[in-house]
């Protein structure tokens, strides 16, 4: 992939250049301090005991045997939580430690601090918990009407979108039922942190997370401390993708530190990481598309049920997104969308890259292909005929005011040259890799196309903001912002923005922490480029204005950047709920061994709506990485549950794409139509690649096999035994 920018470089490493990451050198040298690398004098190790049952009553907990072990400093249970017993991003229903009932496998029951991590692990195992197993509720459809398994009920959120005239019918109708399995974010650096008591009742927590200030507030509430007595500093984050948006070990670490009076470090094993964070919501979807004979969409009907698992997390906004984007990036005059996100005894689900848009995209794109077949029309042409454009009305009634280059995405992506079939492929390049394909003549090639879209930033009335400070002293600029760098490259961008505006070479990034600056919001919803990038831009512009007015350094300005206000949806799901939208097209080429059900994804071509490219290298990195996660969901990634019990909490059993699984990515176009109101005209680019890449791969496998394949991930048995 070659990305060029014809912009004249006024400033070294300014906006539009492939400036290098400021944390790059320590990261390649191995000296970058991830949260799991932290050390402190007198440090002890924490470990959490987790429920093996999806649903059980706790009759008793005996911590005596653990406390008696040499080297053990503390063993804590629900009785030791001084403040709120529960926390949560939106709704505080998740217990710090289970009290009377465990609601999912992996729920925290007790925590230990000991002088060696293995002592802590063994002490946790020595805690005796007497469980009375209860019947788990694991069926999301059944949960809607089943007797409540929690005092707050089984339905996290229920909504409907009625748009236009939901009673009209089209001449051509296609319907289908679709399912998406439970995907895990599977970042490489497991959850870890270090809590250090300050000796005055407060605590400093160094943690890999996505939103420092909201973590701090939840931790402080559980500790019954003033919020400023809990000071959080971002420690090096080994990837996030949504899984670090909820609190995991934060409260446990601080409780252990305050109880022992010592620094406490905790690092999740891979198994604990799988059990200790939220996943992408599994979805069950029923769709009916109506069109006229010319292939114009008349109506979309959809019913979406998301399994939220045991606790609320972000199940409400994920459902809102799933419903808002249920019809895809098309001009749909009439719609009826009904959605539920429900509580079950499965693992909790919450944020993951794409946030509700991924699940419905798989379904609406399968429907578009089905509709094209019913109309005997080219599926790309059908999409082009219905593509959203600026000025169109979404199914939420909102008029699309920003850029929406959907037609351009379709045109460029579908026009990308197809990869040539290799007449003599290396065995390593066959489906399943070396030696698995039995008969090369039974390998079929397929091509599939998909479009996806979602919102940028927080929506539906949420007051979304970020705070940044820029100080200029002796020709050196310092940026203070609590935005979590999780790998995406905000640190690079912050430097580029300040270099561009202040025309300085040296831009220092102060640590991201809660004590020195206000919230930057979460690193999620593709929002940091706009929100924190905008805060940095405006703080820098304010410094620049004073400089230009003749004021002398040092100069310092702080800016709190809010995006334009949005409205909640009304009872018909109508309202101006979102600020801006991002779009992408993906075309997948696959080879399928139809006998063995093995799939090799050969290539993904993509065109993406980016507003403006601020750092070409980083945009490519987001696109390739996002597509990898989409490919994973399409053909291999799923948390396998057996009546609520997770059966594959390891990288041996939960497979993510390796370098051999990952296809070539051909970027057909980065469509740069500057978004009005966005800093530098740029749209966030992180989530877009993940939304429709899974749908495109599934479509390509359908093309190769002729099978309906209504579920992702597509498993070998779905093909071989069909």
């Amino acid at each position: 992939v070659t990305v060029t920018t014809d912009r004249k470089e006024r400033v070294r490493d300014g906006i539009g250049t492939s400036a290098k990451r400021p944390d790059g050198i320590p990261k390649v040298a191995g000296s970058f301090a991830f949260s799991s690398d932290l050390q402190a004098d007198g440090m002890v190790w924490g470990h959490v005991l987790r429920s093996p049952h999806p649903h059980a009553r706790i009759r008793s907990i005996d911590i005596g045997p653990a406390l008696a072990m040499p080297g053990v400093h503390a063993v804590l249970t629900a009785d030791d939580v001084p403040g709120d017993k529960t926390y949560g991003l939106e709704h505080a229903d998740q217990p710090v430690f289970a009290n009377d009932v465990v609601m999912h496998v992996g729920e925290a029951v007790a925590a230990v601090a000991a002088d060696h991590p293995d002592t802590a692990r063994r002490a946790a195992r020595a805690i005796v918990v007497d469980y009375e197993e209860l019947e788990p509720l694991v069926d999301s459809e059944a949960a809607i009407t089943a007797p409540p398994i929690h005092r707050d009920g089984n339905v996290f959120h229920e909504m409907v979108i009625r748009h236009g005239d939901p009673s009209v019918d089209g001449e051509v109708v296609v319907e289908g039922t679709y399912e998406v399995g439970m995907q895990d974010q599977a970042f490489m650096g497991p959850e870890s942190g270090l809590a250090i008591p300050d000796g005055e009742g407060g605590v400093d927590l160094h943690m890999s997370t996505q939103w420092l200030h909201v973590d701090r507030d939840q931790v402080a509430n559980c500790l019954a401390l003033e919020h400023d007595k809990v000071r959080m500093t971002l420690a090096g984050v080994g990837g996030a993708f949504g899984a670090r948006e909820d609190v995991s070990m934060q409260v446990h670490l601080c409780l252990l530190a305050l109880h022992t009076g010592r620094p406490v470090k905790m690092v999740f094993s891979r198994e604990e990481s799988f059990l200790g964070h939220v996943h992408r919501h599994p979805a069950r979807m029923r769709y009916r598309h109506h069109a006229d004979r010319d292939g114009r969409l008349v109506k979309v009907e959809a019913r979406v049920v998301l399994d939220g698992g045991a606790y609320a997390s972000t199940s409400r906004p994920v459902l809102v997104n799933a419903c808002c984007f249920a019809a895809g990036p098309y001009d749909v005059p009439n719609a009826l969308v009904e959605g539920w996100s429900v509580r079950t005894n499965n693992p909790s689900c919450g944020a993951m890259r794409g946030f509700g848009a991924v699940q419905v995209c798989f379904a609406h794109e399968a429907q578009m292909d089905k509709l094209a077949a019913a109309l005997d029309m080219d599926p790309v042409e059908l999409r082009a005929r219905n593509a959203l454009k600026t000025g169109d009305r979404l199914i939420t009634g909102q008029v699309l005011r920003g850029t929406a280059p959907v037609g351009e995405l379709i045109r460029t992506c579908s026009a990308a040259p197809l990869p040539a079939a290799d007449p003599e492929p290396d065995p390593m390049a066959l489906p399943g890799g070396a030696g698995r394909t039995a008969d090369r003549a039974r390998v079929r090639r397929g091509v599939g196309f998909a479009l996806g879209f979602k919102n940028l930033m927080y929506s539906a009335g949420f007051d979304d903001y970020s705070t940044a400070r820029v100080r200029l002293e002796n020709g050196v600029a310092t940026v203070t912002c609590a935005a979590a760098e999780v790998g995406q490259g905000f640190v690079t961008l912050a430097q580029q923005i300040v270099r561009e505006i202040l025309e300085v070479d040296e831009v220092v990034l102060a640590p991201a922490e809660t004590a020195s600056i206000g919230s930057a919001g979460s690193t999620s919803a593709s929002r940091q480029t706009w929100m924190s990038g905008g805060a940095v831009e405006r703080a820098a512009l304010a410094v620049r204005a004073r400089l230009d007015a003749g004021e002398q350094e040092p100069l310092e300005e702080t800016y709190e950047h809010h995006h334009p206000p949005t409205s909640p949806l009304d009872e018909d799901g109508q309202g101006d709920a979102h600020v801006s939208y991002i779009f992408a097209a993906h075309r997948a080429v696959v080879d399928v061994d139809v006998d063995l059900g093995l799939v090799r994804v050969v290539e993904i071509a993509t065109s993406q709506d980016v507003g403006r490219v601020l750092n070409p290298l980083q945009v490519v990195g987001q696109i390739e990485g996002g597509i990898a996660q989409g490919v994973g969901l399409a053909v291999m990634e799923e948390i396998v549950l057996d009546n609520g019990v997770v059966r594959n909490a390891s990288f041996t059993d939960y497979l993510i794409p390796t370098a051999l699984d990952m296809p070539e990515v051909a970027i057909a176009a980065l469509v740069e139509e500057p978004e009005p109101g966005a800093p530098f005209g740029a749209k966030g680019v992180g989530e877009t690649p993940t939304i429709s890449s899974s749908a495109a791969v599934a479509a390509a496998i359908r093309d190769a096999t002729g099978l309906a394949l209504p579920r992702i991930p597509v498993r070998p048995q779905d093909i071989a035994l069909a």
């Binding site: 040298a29 991830f34 293995d118 650096g189 490519v620 051999l660 990952m662």
Partner: protein
């Protein structure tokens, strides 16, 4: 935790004494927690992800799967000990920066060690050989595209400058 051992390891050319370690500790744990070499990362602790890759007597291993006590008297090279001239970055490390192969960076040290090992043994790998060689190193951020580009850039530079033992043949 009563069974402990005291032994010597050579890490990056320097003799290290490990005193009173529990015999069950992995080489990864001892490197990271006892000897102050945090470059190797713990991401799965079962040899699936390659984040903990080091060279043990010149052989690429997952240090999470090696008992530290079994590495006594042997030579370990970690990412911190890769030969850059005068403390500079190696060509592989530099290529990772130039080609955008680093995002969160957690897999990076393991991949740098793995690619050095590959290119020392095979200076001109085909793309499939390259993909195969790094397929034991999981990365969740990049989709591997920029990592492959970095490795290919090193191959091109090494063959162009004549530093490799033989010219790129494929």
């Amino acid at each position: 935790m009563t069974e402990t051992a005291t032994f010597r390891l050579s890490v990056n050319g320097t003799e290290q004494v490990v005193e009173g370690a529990w015999v069950g500790e992995s080489l990864l744990y001892v490197l990271r927690e006892r000897l102050g070499f945090p470059g190797a990362k713990n991401a799965c602790e079962q040899g699936e992800c390659g984040s903990c890759s080091v060279l043990l007597d010149g052989t690429l291993v997952c240090s999470c799967l090696v008992l530290a006590a079994s590495a006594a008297e042997r030579e370990v090279v970690t990412v911190e000990g890769l030969p850059g001239e005068d403390g500079a970055l190696t060509d592989v490390q530099q290529a990772f920066l130039d080609e955008g192969a680093v995002q969160c960076g957690f897999c990076t040290p393991g991949l740098v060690v793995t690619i050095h090992d590959l290119l020392d043994r095979n200076p001109a790998p085909t793309e499939l050989e390259l993909r195969e060689a790094i397929s034991g190193n999981l990365c969740r951020c990049t989709g591997y595209g920029r990592i492959l580009a970095a490795a290919q850039a090193v191959v091109a530079t090494r063959s162009g400058s004549g530093r490799s033992q033989r010219e790129a043949s494929s």
